[in-house]
């Protein structure tokens, strides 16, 4: 019951955030110098075409009405046409999102699956070599620009050592279309194509490493700090005094509260993750939404830029909602207080 109302509260909050996001995007879209209709139609457009779009977007109407139209369009999934591809932005994003989703999802998983144990190891062997290694790795992965990591990995693994493919999701000649979920790892399993699965993983390896290192380091650091913090808490000491064995103390009573801060951090990190996905996708020619977004940004494809920002925002909000639910599940304090 209390969990349900917590979920409801979080969901409503997410909606509010999305509303705020749409205001900001609208402000940017309308605040730019120049005529949005002209910009989104491109230089080849005739004055009549421009006027037609001005009418459709209601650019001559009061701002508040324009905002209504804008949000109405968003709700119907209408993000306008892309100047670059001359298709609807919604269709473009639909085609590219799965690739980004797969990349980001694998990255988060890798960051968590590697980062958390690294943190636990560092906390367990505090001030010994595993700790030093983890600290070193996490500091350096946090301060190295993602594009540098991506470039170096690409050069090293792809060019110098020739061991991994450096671009795309699959080899050029591979005959496979991910038409079920759009995610190669899943579709290849569903279609019984181990060769595709294998290639998909090989192609994912470099981008995922480049993208996950920073989050992994952060998660390891936070897990370490939080393990150490929890281990010193009175309730762990109390368990000891009541004769609860060490393995139960560590793996049941200490581990669970220790996971709250890293999860929370993951939610915040996700923002940077999406941003860095833009760079990584570009470098590895990953056919995702972020690469589409960068091209749109560089070419000033206004509608596409706004669409990509909006979709990243929605993606971000949903991931954070999921994380909220996880945190709420792990930590009753959160769901009872209702906020992190």
């Amino acid at each position: 019951m209390e969990f349900a109302s917590f979920l409801l509260k979080r969901a409503l909050w997410s909606l509010l955030v999305l509303f705020g996001l749409s205001i900001i995007i609208f402000a940017i879209a309308r605040g730019i110098p120049g005529d949005p209709a002209r910009i989104s139609l491109g230089p080849a457009a005739t004055p009549e075409q421009v006027q037609l779009l001005r009418d459709r977007l209601g650019l001559d109407r009061p701002l508040i009405e324009q905002f209504g139209l804008f949000v109405g369009g968003l709700m119907q999934g209408d993000l306008g046409r892309s100047l670059l591809t001359e298709r609807s932005v919604t269709a473009d994003i639909r085609d590219t999102f799965a690739a980004t989703f797969e990349l980001v999802l694998v990255t988060i998983t890798v960051a968590l699956v590697c980062g958390a144990p690294m943190g636990v190891a560092a906390a367990t062997w505090r001030n010994r070599w595993p700790d030093h290694v983890v600290q070193f790795v996490s500091i350096f992965s946090a301060v190295t620009p993602t594009f540098l990591k991506a470039l170096l990995l690409q050069i090293l693994a792809g060019y110098v050592l020739h061991i991994l493919p450096t671009t795309g999701r699959l080899p050029a000649g591979m005959d496979f279309s991910a038409d079920l979920t759009g995610m190669l790892l899943i579709d290849s399993v569903l279609r019984g194509r181990p060769d595709v699965f294998f290639e998909a993983i090989r192609h994912l390896l470099l981008p995922v490493i480049a993208l996950s290192l920073a989050s992994m380091g952060q998660i390891a650091r936070i897990t370490r700090a939080s393990m150490i913090d929890v281990a010193g808490q009175d309730y762990i000491e109390a368990n000891r005094a009541f004769g609860v064995p060490e393995h139960v103390r560590v793996f049941k009573y200490a581990l669970r509260p220790s996971f709250v801060p890293p999860l929370t951090i993951l939610g915040l990190q996700f923002s940077a993750l999406i941003g860095n996905a833009f760079v990584v996708e570009l470098i590895f020619a990953w056919p995702g939404m972020a690469a589409y977004g960068v091209r749109a940004i560089l070419q000033k494809d206004l509608n596409a830029v706004m669409g990509v920002v909006m979709v990243s925002g929605v993606f971000f909000v949903i991931v954070n909602l999921v994380i909220d639910i996880l945190v709420g599940y792990v930590d009753p304090r959160v769901r009872i207080r209702g906020r992190r």
Binding site: L16, P145, L152, L268, S271, L282, L298, L302
Partner: protein, 295 residues
């Protein structure tokens, strides 16, 4: 929690300044971080004096000496038009530091004041400010900055504005939570009862409590801002050529990887170096002040 700390026989109580200095000097990350930051700042300030070819900052072309590897003449080698990369890296560092300085000089005061107000007054002030920061924090920042930089004309100033416009929210949130904890302390109540002005309470009583957390956060942030700035310029949303910019240098040097690796790797290492400095400093300060995990 009193148990263990109670046991350690307290060392001679030292004067605060000395104690801080002692803890600082015993903290390797703080010391290394400070050293790096100072080196960077000094090189940035004295860039024209210490660089061998200060004129290479502008439009100098020397196609006979393009793509030279690092040597005694050109410590970091030369780029695709024959300019000294070391000189350009040092000047690029200047731009990066300037970016961090401007962004933080805008975002920190704004965030601090709003955080103080929200934390102290509560009520609708808190609702308006904190809900706004919540929304702002719930938006993928880098993506937003890219979008803003893109629709406006891409240059350094736009990037700065775009980053600062989002950055203050982090500080507001931090100051807000500290203010909330401090507000209920007895001495604040005492000051209120004695009729101290709001200004006095906010800036003389509460603000000093935030200083250590603020120092940690600002230092860590300087590193992040530099990273974000370099990412923007890597994507071509930064400063216009020929002015040197580290991110742009990495991007343009990347075309010559791996044969002329120095053209992208060394500027990349410079970014790493600066942001490492600020991060270590921030970490060190965090350990020193023993503030809770400030992100």
């Amino acid at each position: 929690m009193a148990h263990l700390s109670e046991l350690a026989a307290e060392p001679q109580r030292l004067s605060n300044a000395y104690q801080n200095w002692y803890r600082f000097s015993r903290n390797p990350s703080a010391v290394i971080g400070t050293a790096i930051v100072i080196i960077c700042i000094l090189t940035a300030i004295f860039a024209p004096l210490i660089t061998p070819y200060p004129e290479h900052v502008g439009a100098v072309v020397n196609f006979r000496e393009r793509h030279l590897p690092p040597s005694a003449d050109y410590w970091f080698g030369t780029d695709n038009v024959g300019r000294d990369i070391f000189t350009r890296v040092v000047f690029g560092m200047r731009i990066s530091l300037l970016l961090a300085l401007v962004v933080l000089a805008t975002a920190v005061p704004v965030g601090t004041v709003l955080g103080l107000l929200a934390g102290y007054y509560g009520g609708w002030v808190e609702i308006v400010i904190m809900r706004f920061t919540d929304i702002a924090l719930a938006i993928p920042g880098l993506v937003m900055v890219m979008a803003v930089a893109a629709v406006l004309s891409p240059d350094l100033l736009t990037s700065m504005i775009a980053i600062a416009a989002l950055w203050w929210t982090w500080h507001a949130r931090l100051i807000y939570s500290i203010t909330r904890q401090t507000r209920v302390q007895d001495y604040i109540e005492a000051a209120e009862t004695l009729g101290a002005s709001k200004f006095h309470i906010l800036f003389r009583e509460i603000l000093p409590n935030c200083v250590s957390a603020l120092a940690v956060k600002t230092s860590l942030d300087a590193g992040f801002v530099i990273l974000i700035g370099s990412t923007l310029s890597f994507l071509g949303l930064g400063i216009q050529p020929p002015t040197p910019d580290l991110g742009t240098m990495v991007a343009s040097g990347a075309a010559f990887l791996p044969s002329y690796w120095w053209e992208s790797v060394l500027p990349g290492c410079a970014i790493l170096f600066v942001s490492l400095g600020f991060n270590l400093l921030g970490d060190g300060l965090r350990d020193m002040f023993d503030v809770e995990d400030v992100r």
